[in-house]
């Protein structure tokens, strides 16, 4: 077994530290070491987006980042998306628009959508489809996911749908 490193980081706004082997991905650290199982593994090679998290505000596939790279970084995961029990408008919109079926892809889509709306608060359909093309969903056919993101964007802009 290779030597473990001590990593200090910030996860969902709180300082955190953990031990991990150099070969462990951030996804593995989140899920198996820190027991934050909201990020999901669909492929472990950067092709499905189920493991999406934000590192210093940048959307990444956490299966393609090493745990040791989290040193000194701010990590945001799905567990931090609802604040004080209040769902984020995206979470509400995914519920109300039925933007999920099995739900395994949902945390990843939510993190990606959140990153999109932070960059571009009023994306059109083509922009949403382009941005979310790194997240695979096998259940929904994407239609209701796109609508959920549109709805959340509108609500966040203070408009009525």
């Amino acid at each position: 077994m290779s030597k473990r490193h001590h990593v200090t980081t910030t996860i969902n706004g709180e300082e955190s530290d953990f031990l991990c082997e150099p070969r462990q991905s951030l996804l593995e650290v989140l899920r198996d070491v820190l027991k934050l199982t909201g990020a999901k593994e669909g492929c472990n090679d950067g092709n499905c987006g189920a493991c999406s998290v934000l590192v210093d505000g940048v959307l990444v596939d956490s299966c393609c980042v090493l745990g040791v790279e989290a040193e000194g970084k701010q990590i945001d995961t799905i567990e931090g998306m609802a604040v004080n029990g209040e769902l984020h408008p995206l979470q509400k919109a995914f519920l109300e628009e039925t933007g999920m079926q099995c739900g395994i892809c949902t945390p990843g889509f939510l993190m990606s959508s959140k990153a999109l709306l932070e960059k571009n608060p009023q994306p059109d359909e083509a922009e949403i489809r382009h941005w979310l093309a790194g997240n695979l969903c096998r259940c929904t056919g994407y239609d209701k996911i796109i609508r959920a993101v549109q709805r959340a964007a509108n609500e966040m802009a203070g408009e009525k749908v």
Partner: protein, 754 residues
């Protein structure tokens, strides 16, 4: 007991769109899927898989793996009980050879496909297990692989299995040649029929192997405890099928096995059988610790699923007035490494839509050196329809008839006897096609070069089969509903809605769950578009018994005859007395104790449903890429319990159908090694590849269900391939005889034409 039937206009809950109970945990990341189990002292198992498609295992040396620090157990085929070849009933899914199921979980003497499991390691962490797997030495003697149905059916093909029963998925096939068994069905006089035809079209098609593509891999955690009791936490379509298959394969009593179904991260037919479960169980037994096993994505693609590739020949004859007079289908489907692919459903789905007086079909279930095929959403249908619905389109244009009118002229209608011999149960097939014609999409102008429109029409069936449910009334008037079928996409809600409808209370009063295999009656898995329909019936029957019991309680309180108590919309009354469901629930414990009804049933199978799709495409003649401009899917669902979910089922099915039609396929090299076992190279549709999918819901009630519900989960995966093929023909004038219709094939077809 009074009938529980309700007309559409009287429904209060069914047909509304409440937010699902499991949704909040899914948007916050708290829902617990198969991989979210962490047990104390848990080990991680990893598999060694064959790099060869067909080989004899000469020897396995596990000593180096066993010696590695952190390794707690190593097993291979010899650790499995030697079980006889025996066909065991799988409910209405037919029969399966338990020896084949065992061998598919881990090879004993021979490996039959690239990725076949050969040995496994349990270690303190997954990385150690993976390193140890690499230390296992296996000596193989290579055999020639058979990689498609034509190779396997050739006269000089080597026989893959020394012993193999004919396939028996849903219905049995009969022994035929070394690597293939057969179904033959016919009516009329096929030669006379073709002699009467004014036009005959004869075409040949090939389709490739493709995968269900669920985003969650196969994952199981097994704890074999000191009393020889096994507990499994797994992602499955059927906790009972896993339990019973595991007991059969390991030769242990069913009573020793408990299966806890986790949230299912997609399945589509591919998670109804054991793969890792007996392996993890034997590792757990050997190590005396719980073991989790999770497949990597490449293992999922190499060793699970897939849906069969096929070789299909279609010959159809039509009279000048538009009557289809004769048809002859040859359907040869891959079974995979073991017999029992979906050929029967290919036969049924290809022959049920049109009344053809002279009809014959020969279906073949063919062993090839690929993973054992598993059902994938309407298994067996898309392949056959890709072929037949293109020929239908061609016939319509030969006699210069509108393709929808041509289909209407030849439709099967309620009561018609279908080829397998049963009558078509009530549904309005013509109304569906009339709604296609009446929809603005059908007549919308489609201008621009290389653009075209295609349609396709299909029929599919709901399974009934054994199912169980329990309703428990709580003293505060809330209700616990347990249903035996794992929820793949919202059935806890659609069942609770039916129970709420039947009990006359609000759906918010329900908490719905899917219990472990110890805690509810047996059921067939969530397959065959059955749960909302079939378990729905059982839930409604349980609700009727709850109401009857509560009426007795009311009668006891009022000291009247139970017969004098009536109930409507959650209020019980007799004469001038009345009491609400909630108030009466409050009195439950002092009027005779808890009210819990457990109900099992086996509703009718072969409930039909129909769908038709219209698609507009633009073909890039330089690259062969097909862009989808507009898509409208019409589907008769009997009664949409939750219209959002129904739309979601339709949209999801369509996009899976588009994937198989345009992109998805297994690429094997000459040695039978899979070359695209990743989600980069096995390319499923992304959000960029598809437009919004308009879902048009039709409701011709199903008389076998109290509210008219038909299952809606599968059918719309069938038409996309043929609708797209017809649209491509309309756009650029070429007939696509090979699926997927990937850009290079479309390009080649265009170049061959000019």
């Amino acid at each position: 007991m009074t009938t529980m039937d309700k007309k559409a206009e009287d429904l209060r809950v069914v047909g509304t769109r409440p937010v699902r109970p499991d949704g909040a945990d899914k948007v916050t990341g708290r829902a617990r899927f198969g991989d979210d189990i962490h047990l104390n002292n848990m080990l991680h198992g990893k598999m060694l898989r064959s790099p060869h498609a067909h080989a004899v295992i000469k020897s396995i040396d596990t000593s180096k793996a066993e010696a590695m620090p952190g390794v707690r157990a190593v097993i291979c085929g010899k650790d499995f009980p030697v079980i006889e070849h025996k066909m065991v009933a799988q409910g209405e899914a037919g029969l399966a050879d338990m020896r084949d199921i065992s061998d598919n979980c881990m090879a004993k003497d021979k490996v039959l496909y690239d990725g076949h499991a050969v040995a496994a390691v349990a270690a303190d962490n997954p990385h150690v297990a993976e390193e140890a797997v690499k230390l296992i030495e296996v000596e193989y003697e290579l055999l020639p692989p058979l990689m498609n149905v034509r190779a396997s059916m050739a006269d000089d093909a080597p026989q893959v299995h020394e012993h193999s029963f004919p396939g028996a998925f849903i219905a049995p096939t009969e022994a035929h040649i070394a690597n293939a068994s057969r179904i033959h069905m016919a009516n009329g006089d096929i030669e006379k029929g073709f002699a009467e035809a004014d036009h005959i079209v004869e075409r040949e098609f090939n389709t490739e192997t493709y995968h269900q593509g669920y985003i969650e891999s196969h994952i199981t955690t097994v704890d074999w405890d000191s009393n020889d009791n096994l507990t499994l936490w797994t992602s499955t379509q059927g906790q009972f099928e896993i339990r019973d298959n595991l007991a059969d394969v390991l030769e242990i009593p069913i009573g020793n096995v408990k299966v806890i179904p986790m949230e299912v991260g997609g399945a589509f037919g591919g998670k109804d059988r054991i793969y890792l479960d007996p392996v993890a169980a034997l590792l757990s037994k050997k190590a005396a610790q719980p073991v989790k096993m999770a497949m990597r994505r490449d293992e999922v693609i190499r060793a699970t699923g897939p849906s069969p590739g096929a070789h299909i020949k279609v010959k159809m004859g039509v009279k000048a007035d538009g009557t289809i007079i004769a048809a002859d289908y040859h359907l040869a489907y891959e079974a995979g490494a073991y017999a029992g692919g979906p050929i029967f459903l290919g036969v049924v789905s290809s022959t049920s839509r049109y009344n053809i007086p002279n009809l014959q079909v020969n279906g073949f279930d063919v062993i090839v050196n690929k993973p054992k095929t598993r059902p994938y959403r309407a298994p067996g249908a898309p392949q056959a329809l890709f072929a037949v619905e293109q020929v239908i389109d061609e016939l319509a244009s030969l006699i210069d008839m509108d393709p929808v009118d041509f289909r209407i002229k030849n439709l099967t209608r309620s009561g018609d006897i279908l080829l397998p011999g049963f009558p078509l149960a009530p549904l309005d097939t013509e109304a569906l096609l009339q709604s296609v014609k009446a929809h603005p999409h059908y007549t919308a102008p489609l201008e621009g070069e290389n653009r075209g429109r295609g349609v396709s029409y299909t029929m599919w069936f709901n399974l009934g089969a054994i199912t169980s449910a329990r309703l428990s009334v709580n003293p505060d008037g809330t209700v616990h509903m347990s249903s035996s079928n794992p929820d793949m996409s919202g059935t806890r809600m659609t069942l609770a809605m039916q129970a709420a409808e039947a009990l006359g209370i609000d759906v918010a009063e329900f908490s719905a769950n899917v219990p472990d295999s110890d805690s509810i009656g047996f059921a067939m898995p969530t397959v065959g578009s059955r749960t909302t329909y079939s378990t729905g019936i059982v839930v409604i029957e349980a609700a009727a018994e709850v109401l009857a019991e509560m009426s007795k309680r009311a009668a006891m309180i009022w000291e009247v005859e139970p017969d004098s108590v009536s109930v409507a919309d959650g209020v019980f009354s007799s004469g001038d007395k009345s009491i609400t469901f909630k108030e009466l629930a409050h009195r439950m414990l002092d009027t005779g104790g808890p009210i819990t009804v457990h109900k099992t049933g086996s509703p009718q199978s072969f409930i039909p449903a129909v769908a038709a799709h219209i698609v507009d495409v633009e073909v890039d003649v330089e690259t062969g890429k097909v862009e989808i401009l507009r898509y409208t899917a019409f589907q008769d669902v009997g009664k949409a319990v939750h219209p959002d979910y129904v739309e979601g089922q339709i949209q999801g099915s369509v996009v899976q159908g588009i994937g198989m039609a345009l992109n998805e396929e297994y690429f094997y090299d000459d040695e039978g090694r899979l070359k695209n076992a990743s989600l980069l190279d096995y390319r499923m549709p992304t959000s960029l590849d598809v437009p919004m999918i308009e879902a048009v819901i039709l409701e011709s009630p199903n008389p076998a269900h109290p509210y008219g519900v038909r299952g809606c989960g599968e059918i719309s995966i069938i038409p996309p391939a043929s609708a797209l093929a017809n649209a491509i023909h309309d756009a650029v004038g070429v007939r696509m005889d090979s699926m997927p219709m990937s850009p290079h094939k479309v390009c080649a077809a265009i170049n061959n034409k000019s």
